[in-house]
């Protein structure tokens, strides 16, 4: 079933590129939700046909990832963005066109990286490593290119999604409890970030993180 997994990963790449190109906050958050949903299906598509991993484990992981990555977290972020009254990112550090170009460059770089680094285990999907590298790098691009708190959190989530892709090489070997613990950490992280965004919006009347520059030596 490498075909289905590769198709999913290709869609993940496309959503990633869309996010670095989009300036609308709501669109970014919705796209990261779509990316989360695609990734939630990944364990099932990759591992269920092989039968090595108990199906119950895979289903639990997928449902958990779907609920957290595609449900609760985006809802939290959309709410934060709405309450802060921000709709569109004005003047990011890196303009959106340049950001899209850089994103495309990072995807190419990832394809190269995945060719250079020989995967140690059996290859389960051709695009697994390239998509993993690309998603991590695109996440970093968001983190440095954007200055709104919400879009920075989207960058963090994309970085985390990339790590999740790499995690698929280990599917089934980490106990469910620990995997759910990792998801719970992510959820709490975004929850705390959401609260911080709310406070930033209240303190400064906007969520532009450039306001956060009073501490320096």
């Amino acid at each position: 079933m490498t075909g289905a997994a590769d198709a999913l990963l290709l869609l993940v790449l496309i959503t990633g590129l869309f996010i670095v190109w989009s300036g609308r906050l709501a669109a970014c958050v919705r796209a990261i939700a779509v990316q989360g949903a695609l990734l939630a299906a990944l364990p099932l598509v990759m591992w269920a046909p092989g039968g090595d991993v108990p199906v119950a484990h895979l289903v639990l992981m997928s449902v958990g990832a779907l609920a957290v990555k595609a449900g609760i977290i985006p809802a939290l972020l959309l709410r934060s963005a709405r309450e802060a009254g921000a709709r569109r990112e004005v003047e990011p550090y890196v303009s959106l066109h340049v950001s899209a170009l850089l994103g495309a460059g990072l995807v190419v770089l990832s394809l190269w990286l995945a060719r250079v680094l020989v995967p140690p285990g059996p290859v389960t999907a051709t695009l697994l490593l390239p998509a993993g590298f690309a998603t991590v790098l695109l996440g970093f691009l968001m983190l440095v290119a954007r200055k709104y708190a919400v879009t920075q959190v989207v960058g963090y989530l994309m970085l985390d999604n990339g790590v999740f892709i790499f995690g698929q090489t280990l599917a089934g070997s980490i106990p469910v409890v620990v995997e759910l613990g990792i998801l719970l950490d992510l959820l709490v992280a975004v929850f705390v970030m959401g609260i911080a965004i709310y406070h930033i919006g209240r303190e400064f009347d906007h969520i532009d993180t450039r306001a956060l520059n009073s501490l320096r030596d």
């Binding site: 983190l143 970085l159 790499f166 280990l170 970030m193 009073s214």
Partner: protein
Amino acid sequence: MEHLAALVLVPALLGVAALFVRGTRLQVGALLAGALLHLVLTGAAWVRRPDGYADYLRLDDVGMLFLSITSVLFAAVAVYAVGYLTGPTHDEPARLYRFVPYLLLFLAAMTLVAVTRHFAVLWAAVEATTLSSAPLVYFYRRGPALEAAWKYLMICSVGIALALLGTFFLGAAEAAVTTGPPGLALTDLMRAAPVMPRGWLRAAFVLALVGYGTKMGLVPLHTWLPDAHSQAPSPVSALLSGALLNCAFLGVLRFFQVCLASGDAAFARTLLLLLGFVSIAVATAFLIGQRDFKRLFAYSSVENVGILAVGVGLGGAATFGAMLHAVNHSFAKAGLFLLAGNVLRSYGTTDAGEIRGAVRQLPLSGPLLFALFLAIGGLPPFGLFMSEFTIFQSAIGDGRTRLGLLFVALLAVAFLAMAGVLLPMLQGESNRPPATARERALAVVPPLLLAAAVLALGVYLPRTLDTLLHAVAGVVGGTS
């Protein structure tokens, strides 16, 4: 296993319970009960090492060392915090319900870091330390505190995400050489390490060093540290510097243990030495002329985690020195931050330039601060002199004279830089009206005990601690 579970669950459950009550008495009760029970359980672990459950929950020598530091510091900080947050001098009504629950959850997370040998659990626990302590950094609802908390959250979360990637890389390296599924347990990883693909193992170590190194405060990933330490309430700063940085260091050490088992530790050592020296040098540069004395102590922490990295990077007897240094630095720095809280309370500013005559103004905290400044500067007879000298001696003994001399030279500059900021603060006539009340015991006794411990460690190392430190040094690449 029950013993270890209790160590984590007691503070966790008390913390959760404290989220739902408001009364000051109940909050104080929960905090002190959590600290005391944790101390008792840790003490019991010294008497009889608790059983574990696979590697998920297992207390080895390395964990024992860091668990003990955390437990002792937390007890001291808890007692101090009660006085700090409920005292008559507090500038706003005590909002303990915004403090105690997170502090207890923070303790539970740090304990989990120490009592696991499983890399996924370790990762989840380190991330939990960030999340539980971020509300503490933002305890004073001010713009700068918010800024510090935001940077802390974002920088450390991103760092930790890279550590998770490193953990997965390690799993991939394990999967390549074992027939069963990769388990990410330290015991299995160390067994499989000699045949693991080098590239993936090295990539895993680099990612872990970057990820956990961010949390540890290694330059150039330290940028969150001075902000968070200076904006957090002083008891929280004490815990961040004294206990949290060690927990992150433990994360790096776990990966280093796998590198050692693989027989390919030279690569990891070089990286540790490089980041260690860069941290010491950059921190020293920021110590010079630093105006904010809490930031001064924060940069001193960056310098000291650099010393830890250098000690482990050098290996041999220096590893023992680094482990001893972890204990010494934790106690001394926690004490300094608690005293910084007393000075801040008395003078109402963290600007060192506006403070004169602290020794006269605060007849107990002032001299104590001076003593701990000498200690952190590495002067005999304090413990930090012993640990830093051990590292220096080991470098010279191994024929790495230039590294050893560079080490001492940097420490000397750091000491002078700190003296330049702190001595004018402490000496002379006070520029504040004389204090009306004597200093409170709750504010002075915890840092006094910590200072006494640092002094005692410089004069005499108890046999049990010496044995433990040698055992720890033995497993993290030193001579035991």
